[in-house]
């Protein structure tokens, strides 16, 4: 009976296949990070704009000035060992660190700095606005960004801004310094090396890119000549694992050293497991529930105020999100200089009803709320739907993919929106512009700000935001942002709800991993596995 024998043989093969046991341990000199990395579009610092690419670029490239991820209050020297600002605040001179080299072995020269900053403006890709907001344009960068001497560069800003704002923006991703010789050598069709740098690297940071295979992995090799010393690990592998449950199994088995995208359930499951520790890092991303004032029915400020009392902030943070977020109600995240950590709003249905009644808001208000169809948005949405319902506001949740929700939001076609915002650089203006500035509400003047997208026109607050942007006294400047946060907290047609917290599971032997408040501040160079 040949077929039966064949079947038995197949069963034996199947059993053999499944019994090829392999020791599940990551190699000793390699750090394996299980993470969802499918957001990466490009690894060129002039184009990279996603969370994961930001983290990788930060570990490959140095910038003129940088943040210490453990002390973000102060800007620190990077490739520039010192800098001066002219009297009028418009010329910045940076003296480069001597002896700094790229991974290619080429020395870091003023020409590289000039090339790198000019190319961001010329390429004009997604993160370019961080530099073009200085007034730099493709046709003026040659005058604005110049080599001053063999060790110095000067950057000129057409308008006057607070020096701290300029330095904070230069410490962001597009301020990364690229090896001009390597980029130029690999340029095609005048792309300044963009296509090549999207999947290769030419930096002076602690790591160099070995390979990026979309949807599979990013492998970083140690750069022994890194400016701030060679990293401890020979290699960092960011392994693409989209499913949190799979990440959990990998960290439990020792196949991964760090699991980055565990949900509340997975964190609860691994936190007491021997050999695994869970660390929590406050993040800069802020979640909010907003109302679009393009709709007449939502224009009454009483509705904005009432909805702030119809969110169960503590219940959602503690019960549903289990530590993955904390309550935060102002527009600048806790832990950043100038942040206001006041959370005056609590769930108070009676008060909300009272506010609505006093303002004669007609009963039966219905709000369609768009949200991304995955946790934590679904959890937050369902809770808000229930608590708003207690005050007679009917919330219809409209789940969609991230791209779908953002498309609708950009076109201002939503009524209510559950979304988040992460600052583009670590200066309060990054969020003040988004939450406290809108002088043109026209459909023909689209902005990516929360104010414009929710049609909140605020000339007075906008003037104050502009004033803070140019204030040269750092202490006074931060006070101005504190006032703005308090005003927006009271007046805005949105409820700022939560600040994200990254809960990361690490094997016990992993030491020295730093996860700052933004992806730009995820640092692998000090990691050891002993």
């Amino acid at each position: 009976m040949k077929p039966m024998r064949l079947m038995l043989a197949a069963s034996a093969l199947a059993l053999t296949m499944s019994a090829v046991s392999v020791e599940a341990k990551s190699p000793p000199n390699v750090l394996v990070v299980a993470k969802n990395i499918d957001d990466i579009v490009s690894l060129d610092p002039g184009q990279a704009y996603e969370f994961t690419s930001g983290e990788i670029v930060a570990n490959i490239y140095d910038r003129l000035v940088e943040y210490d991820p453990l002390n973000i209050d102060k800007i620190a020297p990077g490739l520039a060992e010192s800098w001066t600002v002219s009297e009028d605040g418009r010329t910045f001179t940076f003296k480069l660190r001597q002896g700094a080299k790229f991974a290619s072995g080429n020395p870091v020269r003023p020409e590289d700095v000039v090339f790198s900053l000019r190319r961001v403006v010329t390429l004009n890709k997604a993160p370019a606005f961080i530099l073009t907001q200085f007034g730099w344009k493709p046709d003026n960068v040659e005058q604005m960004i110049k080599k001053a001497s063999d060790t110095e560069v000067t950057l000129t800003i057409p308008e006057t801004f607070a020096p701290s704002f300029v330095l904070n923006a230069l410490a962001a991703r597009p301020g990364s310094i690229v090896d001009e010789k390597e980029a130029t050598k690999n340029a095609k069709d005048n792309d300044l090396g963009n296509a090549w740098l999207s999947r290769n690297s030419a930096g002076s940071g602690p790591f160099k890119l070995r390979v990026w295979r979309p949807g599979e992995a990013v492998v970083l090799d140690a750069n022994k000549d890194a400016v701030k010393g060679a990293p401890k690990m020979n290699q960092v592998v960011l392994s693409h694992v989209a499913e949190p449950s799979t990440q959990r199994l990998m960290i439990e088995s020792g196949d991964a050293d760090i699991a980055r995208n565990l949900g509340p359930d997975q964190i609860a499951a691994v936190k007491d497991k021997p050999g695994i520790k869970v660390e929590t890092y406050p993040q800069a991303a802020l979640h909010f529930f907003s109302l679009n004032l393009k709709h007449d029915k939502l224009k009454n400020p009483a509705i904005w105020e009432a909805t702030k009392y119809l969110i169960d902030y503590d219940g959602i943070a503690n019960t549903l999100l289990k530590g993955q977020m904390k309550v935060h109600q102002t527009f600048w995240p806790e832990g950043f200089p100038g942040a206001v950590n006041e959370n005056p709003y609590k769930l108070d249905v009676a008060k909300a009803k009272d506010i609505l009644a006093k303002a004669n808001v007609p009963s039966g208000l219905t709000i369609d709320v768009d949200m991304i169809s995955s946790p934590p948005f679904t959890d937050i949405g369902q809770s808000i739907q229930a608590t708003m319902g207690q005050a007679g506001i009917k919330v219809n949740l409209i789940p969609g993919t991230s791209a779908q929700v953002i498309t609708k939001y950009r076109a201002r076609q939503h009524e209510g929106m559950l979304l988040y915002w992460a600052p583009d650089f670590m200066d309060p203006h990054s969020n003040a512009k988004a939450f406290a500035y809108n002088v043109d509400n026209a459909d023909t003047a689209p902005q990516s700000t929360t104010t414009w997208r929710n049609s909140w026109l605020i000339p007075e607050l906008s003037a104050r935001t502009k004033a803070a942007l140019v204030e040269r006294d750092p202490t006074k400047r931060l006070d101005m942002y504190r006032d703005l946060q308090r005003e927006v907290l009271k007046q805005s047609p949105w409820s700022m709800t939560f600040q994200a917290q990254a809960q990361v599971a690490l094997r016990d032997e992993v030491k020295g991993f730093i996860h700052g408040p933004t992806n730009d501040l995820v640092v692998y160079r000090n990691v050891t596995k002993n």
Partner: protein, 342 residues
Amino acid sequence: MRGLVLGGVMAARGFAALLITLVGLLLVTFVVGRVMPIDPVVAAVGDKASAETYAKAREALGLDQPVWIQFGRYIGGVARGDLGQSSLSNRPVSEDIARVFPATVELSTLGILVGIILGVPLGVFAAHRRNRWPDQIIRSVSLLGYSTPVFWLGLIGLLIFYAQLGWSGGPGRIDTAYRYSVEEWSGLMLVDTLYSGDWDAFRSALSHIALPALLLGYFSLAYIARMTRGFMIEELSKEYVTTARLKGASEADVLWRHALPNVLVPVITVIALAYAQLLEGTVLTETVFAWPGLGLYITNSLFSADMPAVLGGTLVVGVCFVLLNKISEILYPILDPRTRSR
């Protein structure tokens, strides 16, 4: 000579039908992509890009042109072998597909082999023992395979065989230690590790593919066994089977030499369909096992309205379906002389 001409005409007709099928498939996919409420430019340049950057990217993606021109340009490109550029991975679609498709082919082929080798005999056996306990068990196992969510079964499989018992490798195609140390030759990890002569790497690759392949094999098995059982029950009720038994043929001969060859044509069709479904990519299996295959690629691209990538993936799936159909058609007359044309 006349036969040769006739053959040529038939081949030309077949080729024309293939072209029409593929263009139709692309057209439908293209239209669906354009009516989706997702802005592909946002997916490409990010949410906060300036109006100027947005406009530039829109133009670069060709979205400022009327839809029919966009489609015409796309088809023109395909005819020249250019599948376009993925806005999500920033790479040529053909390069992306060359990367993800071998992973899917490798997994699907092993899966379907397990499905065929176990599924056909089980189906025959179940038909032979119709409504008795072996049949009940096989039907229950098939039903379970057919109705259990693959996502759940995959996670349970990983939990038991990878995390608890350590019998199988974990997610991904190979252990980190061997990742990128083996030179890529075919894109099929088992073949490449064998070709390089690195036995440890081969062992690692085998341990990684075992669990997802067995899982997919189980799902194919469920389908193939169920269908084979049905075909065989009908065949076993025919008079020639009774005659064979009366003439003293053994049960094994009746089943395997008389009845089974007569149902091979529909069984081959079922196998071809099952294989085509696996080649389409099994998104959930690929997600759970972190398997960088075609299904996940098409799905992620679709969610970001990365239409060149979606269309490229669809084209590959379409070609697979057509090719498998053709192979089935070629196999019919070989397996069953009654289907040979005169």
